[in-house]
């Protein structure tokens, strides 16, 4: 059996979970190709205008899944306790069904970790009936899925790049390689980046944002790569979860979306980190949770006088504009470090003379 899985949205965080799950079941997960112009255009054309960019990209990917026996679109309600994923993620699969031709069967399962691990396993077992798998098979696969997921998280915390981690998992998916899982190697330090030109100034920059934007090289115009050429880059996934939880405890009310929580927590950690020269918040037009976390972080950055740049991308973002802003930001950081002690943080000088009525 070949199940299609879109390389978009929740792929970036939970693909290893599903890869492990289906590997153990002997079901092949077929990924859509990396985002390209055609996928993007189809997504833009089919999806409602005012939804967010990642959903539009997801819709494009759904149309790109060919030669499959069905499409697997889980409804991820919650992947950890006391949190939700964003409403638009909860609306999947129904909200994107229009993009799938009626002859292709859609397989879905509700994953609600909020109600506990047992509940998640129960719904997977119910799902197992659909695909003709026994309860014990599902139970084993569930354990395997969590193992893959933990391995992935360790890789990410150990600063493996997203591509490296995914390559590793892709390799595992090929038959025969399963025995040499190689999970034991994960603890080894990440490949040291070639820092030959150490005399050159390389600022330390934290790139904060949803994984499906920071790693979505087509939509963000290869931002991560561009940034890595000029700076040492730190990402949300490099912050261990205890530190993120600690930031939550400082809030009067905990943030109830797991992604927003991670993004906020990582951002707050980087703002307080004296080693980090500046933050870049990568957001996309129409992201509901970003409107909140971005604002909270911008306020924190302003108080800490930490350089903070907001990049909002959408389907019309042009490369020249992005590069200009990026270079200006890096120039400012350099100038700050060599000449000036302070420059205005994000939002501080916007609109400063138009006082309130």
């Amino acid at each position: 059996m070949r199940l299609g899985f879109p390389r978009a949205l929740m792929y970036y965080d939970y693909y290893p979970f599903w890869a492990g799950f289906f590997y153990k079941l002997g079901i092949q997960l077929v990924l859509s190709p990396a985002t390209n112009r055609e996928i993007m255009n189809r997504g833009l054309k089919l999806a409602p205008d005012d939804t967010c960019l990642p959903i539009k990209i997801l819709v494009g990917h759904l149309t790109a899944l060919k030669d499959v026996d069905g499409i697997f679109l889980p409804r991820l309600i919650s992947m950890e306790e006391k949190t939700y994923l964003c409403p638009k993620v909860l609306g999947i699969p129904e909200s994107v069904l229009f993009a799938i031709p009626p002859e292709i069967k859609v397989y879905t399962v509700d994953i609600n970790w909020r109600a506990g691990k047992r509940k998640a396993l129960q719904s997977l077992m119910a799902f197992g009936v659909q695909i003709g798998c026994s309860k014990s098979q599902i139970r084993e696969s569930f354990v395997e899925a969590q193992r893959w997921m933990r391995a992935y998280q360790r890789m990410r915390n150990a600063s493996w790049s997203f591509e490296e981690s995914m390559e590793r998992f892709q390799a595992l998916m090929e038959p025969g390689k399963f025995d040499s899982l190689g999970f034991s190697q994960i603890k080894e330090p990440p490949k040291t980046e070639s820092l030959n030109e150490e005399r050159d100034y390389r600022p330390k920059i934290a790139l904060v944002g949803h994984s499906y934007l920071t790693y979505e090289a087509y939509a963000n115009l290869n931002l991560l790569h561009k940034l890595k050429e000029k700076a040492q880059v730190y990402l949300v996934e490099n912050v261990p979860s205890p530190a993120i939880e600690k930031e939550q405890d400082k809030l009067r009310k905990r943030i109830f979306w797991s992604h927003a929580k991670k993004v906020y927590g990582a951002g707050a950690v980087y703002i307080q980190d004296a080693e980090i020269d500046g933050l870049i918040y990568l957001s996309c037009f129409g992201c509901g949770t970003d409107s909140m976390t971005n604002d909270l972080l911008a306020r924190r950055a302003r108080k800490a006088e930490k350089p903070y740049l907001v990049l909002t991308i959408d389907e019309h973002t042009g490369e020249a504009g992005l590069v200009t802003r990026l270079e200006a930001f890096l120039d400012m950081l350099e100038r700050k470090n060599s000449h000036e002690a302070h420059f205005s943080s994000y939002g501080q000088r916007l609109d400063s003379d138009s006082g309130l009525a």
């Binding site: 409602p48 638009k88 609306g91 604002d295 309130l356």
Partner: protein
């Protein structure tokens, strides 16, 4: 402590009744206006949803009138409304309006936490019995608000002039605001129904049956005429008989009384109707929107208008699914997105065009209906 609260349509009438019967010091913020929105837009994050912007405007204007504590409800998501209180506290603090914001919510099901907050608001002098009584009375008032609005919906297409309906509405609301007993509420309601009956009996009542149009969507947007650009009123003035998916008391019953009270229009039936189209709740009122669309389609309405603030996460999910409902039930659905830049003339033009299409579909029967369906939605 001087309390205030955000506006949401006529909700202030019920909240005022609550605070009044508890003998608390409060300020009703000035009604939503261009100025309110300007203040809110200035302070709020650009891409946050519209209700937050108006809330902020309300609080600032109330603070200028002496309020120091704001009341709001909350929740644990996944709609952004659940985090309003926290955002508002922080934004107002930075803007120089250090309002204390009390979020009335039972976080993680902790009723004692909620009780503690209610106690903080109500002060020591009010007994729990009195608080409960005041809440029930406020709920009754919200029911009456809904009845008044519904009666007006029924009357407006037949009114001699829009002004006639407006006058009735304002006077009925005035009577309701002043009523401080159950009896008073009843009198306000019977006054309005008598007035309407009398007028319909007298005036040159037209025989033709008006188009029936339902307004569905995000609760704040459909309850607050300032945001919806008076959609219900405009539709009524254009001669359509309007109904709405969510009424205030339905929301109060579901969210404040946790489903123990039904409200004027219970929300529960919507959930089972929506199930084949959206099997799980997604926050906000997406399920209600879809369920209501089916409800009105089954009742033979001519068309449906969905209202949502720009970027509203749950309503976008509903918006993505509504075309399927439109197709299955053959009812035209138009989605209207509003934000701080929405102009009244633009909305009015779209409503007029929509009604023209519905009218044509009805007069030429079902032949043309398909064309309307294509034009109405995506």
């Amino acid at each position: 402590m001087k309390l205030t609260f955000p506006h949401m349509g006529n909700a202030w009438i019920a909240i005022q009744a609550l605070l009044e019967s508890l003998n608390l010091d409060y300020v009703v913020p000035p009604f939503n206006s261009k100025e309110t929105l300007t203040i809110g837009t200035h302070l709020a994050p650009e891409s946050y949803c519209l209700p937050l912007k108006l809330n902020l405007g309300n609080f600032v204007q109330a603070a200028q009138l002496g309020a120091d504590t704001a009341l709001i409800t909350g929740g644990a998501g996944p709609c952004r409304f659940g985090y309003y209180g926290e955002m508002e506290r922080e934004i107002l603090q930075d803007a120089g309006y250090p309002l204390e914001i009390i979020t009335l919510e039972a976080l993680d099901g902790s009723i004692s936490g909620l009780a503690e907050r209610i106690r903080k608001v109500a002060g020591e002098k009010n007994s729990w019995q009195k608080i409960l009584k005041a809440m029930v009375f406020a709920y009754r008032k919200s029911l009456a608000v809904d009845q008044i609005e519904h009666m007006l919906h029924g009357f407006r297409p037949f009114a001699q002039s829009p002004l006639e309906a407006d006058n009735l509405y304002e006077r009925a609301k005035e009577k309701l605001v002043q009523a401080m007993t159950e009896q008073g509420i009843k009198e306000a309601l019977s006054w309005l129904s008598e007035q309407i009956e009398e007028k319909l009996a007298h005036s040159s009542y037209q025989e033709e049956t008006p188009l029936r149009v339902a307004v569905i969507g995000e609760i704040y947007t459909i309850l607050e005429p300032f945001v919806s650009m008076d959609v219900e009123k405009e539709l009524g003035n254009l001669g359509a008989l309007v109904d709405r998916s969510i009424y205030l008391s339905g929301w109060v019953g579901q969210h404040i009384f946790l489903g123990l009270a039904q409200g004027y229009r219970p929300l529960k039936p919507y959930y089972s109707l929506a199930k084949p189209y959206l099997a799980h709740f997604v926050g906000g009122h997406a399920r209600e929107t879809i369920g209501a669309a089916i409800h009105f389609a089954q009742k033979g309405y001519d068309g449906i208008v969905q209202l949502l603030p720009l970027g509203c996460m749950p309503e976008i999910v509903a918006e993505s699914i509504l075309p399927k409902v439109q197709e299955d039930y053959g009812i035209p659905i138009m989605s209207l997105t509003v934000d701080e830049h929405t102009g009244k003339a633009g909305v009015q033009t779209r409503l007029e065009a929509f009604l023209d299409l519905l009218e044509r579909a009805r007069s030429q029967n079902k032949v043309i209906n398909k064309g309307v369906l294509e034009l109405a939605g995506k």
